[in-house]
């Protein structure tokens, strides 16, 4: 299963400025084995009783016996043993609620894990119905690493049971590697948009590949974020803008305020306005925004069981971001699935050197400002009129992956600081699209059924525009309701940044 060396350095997990010093029993990093070779024993410093109790030293001569041999690779046994089958995960699974054939996360995780201990057991086909929303993770009262189990089961299913010559495999591969398509698409954005928007092409996609014709392909921007950033003068310009902002803000002009932006493929190719908003907002707070070399976060690859593709992408990302993190630069993301991947999935699935350090220093962009700046105060003081925003009321949907990071309340809380703007939370249902999931013909209907509740709430909301952090949730919201969708960073930009856009264009 593993092709990497086993670098899993303890220092990486425990050390660093931001690493957890409390390390109580709730510290997830210490509990769960990496599937990629980091064995449970390596991690026993966290005090996980399931590892054999090395942390316990009771003076009564008690010496725990190591019952199970050290695992050589995927050791999810502790997680599986922690499941006491309360089935709470099943009641939070949005797919199980609408699909009568889906046996739910408890089966996909701990039960399947036990079943496949015997060699003659295949992974059940229903693993492809899991949408990787990861809601089961935070529902579990016993900290079972459900999504990690699903990711590994799905990868094994694709590796061992999926026909590599099937159209479905290549369709999934194509969807998972959206970034590769996007690079091509962005080379001739207008042509690509015209072709992909063609209904004949859509019919062919549906019939041949199983990519639903119900959805409109997202348009490629005529200029990618990265080429905008380069044209604008690259890092030097951002450093200078940040310096001027610090001067304006009466801060230390020579302060080392830099962030590394993980924009991912979608903000780069499809919604550069979100990425630009991030740059403008961070620069206005005096941060230089760096955009190191990067690939897709891997989220669509995990969801399609293409773990090797994801590993390659993760290697590039961890490699280029860990260097900056070493240098004291924190990582910020505008997409909550990207931050989820860097913070949780990488450490759970790979042991690429530097992964833990990157995870411990990666933030959602808005969360970062909230922690490090007086974002609430500046928003409250901002004299924003609805004219600046063009909108006064938003229907906000918290993406599942934002929810899993404890970010679901953030946007509504922040926007309530603005005088004339309302943001209404449309409830905690899943949007249903889950990245590439809702694009597949066989899942389209399920995806829309899951989305129903959100659509209903959006329509009931007294709002003119939709809002979310996740690009595919945005697609689903638009598709289901016709609302235009904005990213919170765009509102922050309108509220806090004076004439940034014109400044850029002048430069």
């Amino acid at each position: 299963m593993t092709d990497e060396p086993q670098p899993h350095d303890d220092q990486d997990v425990q050390g660093g400025d931001h690493a957890c010093s409390g390390c109580g029993p709730t510290d997830a990093a210490g509990d769960t084995a990496k599937t990629d070779g980091g064995t449970a024993v390596d991690d026993a410093g966290g005090g996980a009783a399931t590892d054999g109790g090395t942390a316990v030293d009771s003076g009564d001569g008690f010496e725990p016996i190591q019952v199970f041999p050290e695992a050589e690779d995927a050791d999810l046994r502790p997680g599986s043993d922690d499941c006491y089958k309360c089935s709470t995960c099943d009641t939070t699974c949005p797919v199980a609620e609408v699909d009568e054939d889906f046996p739910g996360p408890k089966f996909q995780g701990p039960e399947q894990w036990r079943l496949k201990r015997s060699d003659d057991q295949d992974i059940d086909d229903s693993i492809s119905k899991c949408s990787n929303c990861m809601r089961c993770d935070s529902a579990c009262p016993s900290d079972v690493p459900l999504s990690q189990m699903h990711n590994t089961a799905r990868a094994q299913y694709v590796d061992e049971q999926m026909d590599k010559t099937s159209l479905k495999y290549w369709r999934n591969r194509l969807l998972a590697n959206y970034g590769t398509m996007a690079r091509l698409g962005s080379t001739f954005p207008r042509l690509t948009n015209a072709v992909m928007g063609n209904s004949l092409v859509q019919q062919v996609n549906e019939k041949l590949l199983g990519i639903t014709a119900e959805r409109e392909f997202p348009e490629f921007a005529t200029e990618t974020f990265r080429s905008w950033y380069a044209k604008r003068g690259g890092e030097a310009t951002s450093v200078e803008n940040a310096r001027r902002a610090r001067q304006r803000r009466d801060e230390d002009v020579d302060a080392d305020k830099r962030v590394a932006y993980f924009h991912g493929d979608y903000a780069n190719h499809n919604t550069p306005e979100v990425a630009k908003a991030l740059v403008h907002v961070f620069e206005s707070f005096g941060y230089a925004v760096l955009v190191p070399e990067q690939r897709c976060s891997g989220t669509p690859m995990f969801a399609n069981g293409m773990l090797e593709d994801a590993r390659r992408a993760a290697k590039v990302n961890v490699g280029s971001f860990s260097e900056l993190v070493e240098d004291g630069v924190d990582v910020v993301c505008s997409c909550t699935s990207c931050s989820m991947a860097l913070r949780q999935e990488y450490p759970e699935l790979f042991s690429i050197p530097g992964t833990a350090k990157v995870a411990a220093n990666t933030y959602d962009a808005v969360e970062y400002l909230r922690i490090n700046e007086d974002l609430d105060g500046e928003l409250a003081a901002a004299e924003t009129t609805t004219d600046d925003l063009g909108v006064d009321s938003f229907a906000y949907h918290a993406p599942c992956h934002a929810r899993n990071q404890g970010l679901d309340g953030q946007t509504v809380e922040l926007l309530s600081q603005l005088d004339d703007v309302d943001a209404e939370d449309v409830g905690d249902s899943c949007s249903g699209i889950s990245g590439t999931y809702g694009w597949k013909t066989e899942h389209y209907e399920t995806s829309m059924k899951i989305g129903d509740e959100m659509f209903e709430h959006m329509e009931d909301a007294d709002a003119t525009t939709g809002m979310t952090e996740c690009p595919t949730c945005a697609m689903q919201m638009e598709h289901g309701t016709g609302y235009e969708i904005e990213h919170p960073l765009q509102v922050l930009e309108a509220a806090l940044v004076d004439g940034a856009t014109t400044e850029d264009e002048a430069a």
Partner: protein
Amino acid sequence: MAIRDDVLVVGGGLAGMTAALAAAREGASVRVVTDSESTLQQASGLVDVLGYPNPHDARDGDRDGDGGDAGDGSSAPPVANPFDAIDSLPEDHPYQLVGVDALRGGLAIFDDATGDLYRGGHTERNALVPTVGGTVKPTARYPASVAPGLASDDRTTLLVGFDGDTDVDAPNVAAHLRAVGVPFDVGGVTVEFPGDPDGTDQQTRLAHALDTDEDGVRRRLAERVKRSLKRADDVFGDASDTDEGAATGSAVAGFGDVERVGLPAVLGRDRPRQVRDALAEHLDAAVFELPPAPPSLPGVRLRYRLRDALRDAGVAVTTGNPVVDHDVEPGAGDGGDAGKNAAPRITTIYADRNGTRTPYEPEAVVLATGGLVGGGIDSERDAVYEPVFDCPVSHPEDRYDWSDADAFGSHAFARFGVRIDADGRVLDADGDPLYANLTAAGGVVGGYDAAAEKSASGVSLATGYVAGRTASADASSSHPTPTDVTADR
């Protein structure tokens, strides 16, 4: 810069939410931070206050001899009025510490928040609710969906389970209820849930189908229930069922004699009222749910309702990040005055996400992380501890004294928890406040055996009420007027 609120509640169960609502009512800005989603999803949805004040008395009295304490009537009956029984509790019981008014205050918050979703507020007396285990539980508040099923009601009752659903074995539940002598005819049948022949669907899927009445499922289910009663004699038990020989089956000739129907608790998640009304109309009988084992839709509904109440009260909720660390500043004085001002103060709390730490700087903190099961109290081989603030948890030195040899005996571990005073403040080993701004509520508080007493929810409400109010008062005393807040910062 950290995220600032007046009151930060650590934990999002019933105690934490009650504390948050109590503090918000007093005008504090409040945030709830939780490790994972609320455990109310695992709860039955019943809100007990006190069922058995001295659950181990009969058992202890039996130590001398015959060993016959189970099922022979020697265990005490449930208490009719829990409020009257509070005086008989040990002095260090949380109810004695925070007082009966705190319990009333907590229940008032609960009643306000849950509105028409719950019943029982009309009286201080316990209701007797038949459960999915065939027992009858004394409880103070119960979901409206459960109300028509009360054991004190003598209407003829048919319990219905679904094929393939191992959680509700209706004939067995009915037999149990007959055995404990409920004052009504009760029988149990099993039917196929329409569209789910093998019974593999998740309960949320069944609830969704009933919510949306997909394929006329409400009517189809009602038809199946009606048709299920072909041989009522078997269903409603016969003479061999009970020693008394009170054959009750003969009174029920067919479905026409059934006055109420109890079903598994899957009768809708979003529109439970509508689902029950529709089924009742099709069946021409009252319809109720059997309070379930986890996972629990009544628990999910309660969680939604309380979450809405928090939102309406302006409480911010951050779910998914455990609190792992905190900073403390020393207190005003070491000697002399041992009051709360002498105690150190918690200044910053850190929540963790794989090593990323989010700082919060509240004025006051409520600890509501649950007990041994919820993770608010933890143990190693030779120590019991409270993991977030390392509050003292007293326990016998020898771990073999932590539990009783009798499985249903009086276990020390059941009472493990932090000590609080009348204001809900966490106390140190000497009985002084551990921190100037830390209170605790719910399962993390020690001194009571929630499972044996049937007091878990009531203690959460009472201690949550007090802890929230104290925290709010602490917060407002640390910044006298709201306008000073920004200046101080």
